[in-house]
Symmetry: C2
Subunit: 213 residues, 2 copies
DNA sequence: GAGTTAATGAACCAAACGGTACATAATTCG
DNA sequence: CGAATTATGTACCGTTTGGTTCATTAACTC
């Protein structure tokens, strides 16, 4: 008897799980952990609330799964950055710009990080194998920084985490605080022309900082 | 008959109101809007839940009052910054450092802003007279920027809001994302020595950026 | 194709939660 | 003082919410 292709099957654990995860990501990012409703997540899928408990165990475990998947995605994006053959200053600018683009492309991830910070990263700490997730981003910058220092082009009193933090801070702010900042200063942070301008500013600032004096 | 001093009175509308506001600020900043419990706020005060509804009308209006008070505080702090007699570069560095200090001194305000951003600033928009709250911070930088440009010391392709955004982004990130960033990179963002270092980095970066070329 | 297991759905439940009704005591004011 | 007003506490209510029970069907195994 011909087996149905996985995509045509009515019962498909992987699809159901993935759908719940995708919808849950959006709902948690929109309403926060407490504000997210299990019923709403279920309603937005083609399955029922029962499946959340069947596959994940409960609201909190679902949130943990969402967090883990989100961080796995960003790690992959970071590892795909390739700036090895550019002069140090250009390489740093390129890393900054790609980071900037990635943040704008995945606002739901940024919002999830905000949510997690409000809760003092208590859930993140439960996902053990996310511990040294910062390493890839740092080592990428480490290489470029070392090259710049050797060439005498970069200042020597900063490390890779310092640089990453300045870049992250700027990028995260653009997305995470666009609502309040946009309101208070009457600037639409997500408009295309504004975004291009801010992107250029980040590159200018980071390079100017590293090459100063 | 001798009237009791207000501070000794058992019934004191102002004190009750202020106490509720203070406790609510902390609870909303810790748990987010939905995560904050009206009962918890009441329990942490010397009064009862009933008073929240008597003075504010409900959970949402209490949150609005908290937001408004928090933003009023930061406006006052910004207006107290005085950098008029310093050379432009030193003045910008000073503004950046004072902003940095203020953020670290009021983490609950930063967290409240994060909460509000998760909700797309929908509550902030309801507090009408907070609309152009950004103006003071911008005009302070505007003056310094103008002086720097006239002296030929500063670049001319950025405005006050650009500068304020870079400073804000860095300062907000330090406080708002200290939990996740600290976890992923093993750096305690709130430790004294780390904080001093980050403070200096911000000044270096902003001045280098503005004076580049 | 019979038996077993994985996956799913509908209805239901107890606790938590925001909010209120009612009673009452402190304060003010004529 | 005594009436009117302001402030406060207790007990309770209806709804929402995360979670569960029980039954059932699709899919896989041999």
């Amino acid at each position: 008897m011909a087996r149905l292709a996985p995509s045509e099957r009515i019962r498909d654990a992987d699809r159901t799980r993935a759908e719940l995860l995708a919808v849950a990501t959006e709902v948690f990012a929109t309403h926060g952990y407490s504000g997210a409703r299990v019923d709403e997540i279920a309603e937005r899928t083609s399955t029922t609330k029962r499946m959340i408990y069947y596959y994940f165990g409960g609201k909190e475990q679902l949130y943990l799964a969402v967090l883990e998947a989100a961080y796995r995605n960003i790690r992959e994006a970071e590892q795909s950055i390739n700036a090895g053959d550019l002069p140090p200053a250009d390489a740093v600018r390129r890393i900054a710009e790609l980071t900037f683009d990635h943040h704008h492309a995945h606002p739901e991830f940024i919002r999830l990080v905000s949510v997690e910070n409000i809760h003092q990263a208590e859930h993140l700490q439960q996902v053990e194998h996310l511990r040294d997730l910062g390493a890839p981003a740092a080592s990428l910058l480490e290489d470029v920084l070392a090259r710049g220092r050797e060439a005498g082009a970069f200042r020597t009193d900063v490390d890779a985490i310092d640089v990453h933090m300045l870049i992250s801070a700027y990028c995260v702010f653009q997305v995470a605080n666009s609502a309040t900042f946009g309101f208070l200063f009457g600037r639409d942070m997500l408009a295309d022309d504004v975004r291009r301008r801010h992107r250029a500013i980040l590159g200018d600032a980071v390079v100017a900082w590293l090459t100063a004096r």
